[in-house]
Symmetry: C2
Subunit: 212 residues, 2 copies
């Protein structure tokens, strides 16, 4: 396929929204997650993010990027005030409801009610899970790293609870998120389902990886 | 589907490798990218990472998580010494070669040679692109954020060049990474291709999102 090369000047000269859409696609496929929080009085909030990333397994840590000066500001305030949040996978059947949580609702409106998703609690943490999600993670807020280059924050949480369907857990510990219909996200607004190509064996320098 | 709930104790008591595989799946789908670098003498290095994430569009920034005490240590050394690296999307036809870059090769072996991928250069930066990749991004290293909780680093780079097939660029700036056969990754070792569900309109509180 013939290529187009964008110099940095080309990028800087793109129309603002087109550049936003374009740059958002460049990192590859992203996770699609709903962040569930509550304020200290129990008033719930829900917001979709495509910026959750794996940070480490031991201790079990996850990161996510937040833009505190735009949405989802209420999420970040609730995390600071209560110390807890949930990460809930978006699956095929709830993409529109999940996407709709990014609309600017007034603080007194819970996005759960506005988009028709159901808050669900365990005794472990005060943040609400999304009942409709298949894969749900409860986190305790640990730390935030300010990124001065663009005034964003990287929020780091430690996993305190995981809720997954029995049938998605494979023998070796691997979790079949595809079987849970978890979606992948590209750019600002596109949702994808996936088809497995293969799992590959741990790479060693003396032989080619094998399909597991 | 009936659920299994993992408490934090359950996670801590899992066998080490099983826990590693399990926790790595929890963030959802991940990007699959090859990081191309060279040392100051031009000796090349290539390593697969699933930790690249979008950090911001203006300025155009990308982040990635590195574990400097394990692999890919040579990548991080080269980034520090030269100030440049490339991010190259893994697509359907190169998953095995890409995966194999994670084997521990001696420093004098270039993973490009070892796995059969081809270094390619522009005049903009001294780091090698992967000729076989469809979507390639050149970055200038800006900053690293140490994550003390688990001794990882978040490496932040600013985009200086983007090379993409003409036919993947849509009218509104959106990039069709699915048309470029970019894969999604889950956990440590599974590769997926994607099928688009829909793009959804910018969310507004007074109406439901529409398919674009």
């Amino acid at each position: 396929m013939p290529n187009k090369i964008f110099t940095r000047d080309d990028l800087d000269n793109m129309e603002r929204i087109a550049r936003l859409k374009f740059i958002n696609c460049l990192s590859g496929f992203k996770s699609g997650n709903l962040i569930g929080t509550a304020d200290p009085t129990g008033h719930t909030n829900l917001s979709i993010v495509s910026s959750v990333f794996h940070l480490g397994a031991n201790p079990p840590l996850m990161g996510m990027v937040m833009r505190p000066h735009t949405t989802p500001r209420h999420t970040w305030e609730n995390i600071q005030e209560t110390g807890f949040y949930t990460i809930n996978h978006v699956h095929k059947d709830i993409t529109s409801a999940a996407h709709q949580t990014s609309a600017r609702y007034p603080r007194e409106t819970s996005e759960f009610d506005a988009v028709g998703l159901t808050p669900e609690y365990t005794t472990t943490l005060k943040a609400p899970y999304v009942a409709e999600s298949q894969i749900k993670i409860g986190l305790s807020f640990q730390h935030h790293l300010p990124v001065e280059l663009n005034n964003t924050l990287i929020i780091i949480g430690e996993i305190v609870e995981v809720i997954v369907p029995h049938q998605t857990i494979l023998e070796d510990g691997f979790l079949d998120i595809e079987a849970a219909n978890t979606v992948a996200v590209s750019g600002l607004d596109r949702y994808h389902y996936t088809t497995g190509i293969h799992r590959l064996s741990y790479a060693k320098s003396d032989h080619w990886p094998e399909e597991l």
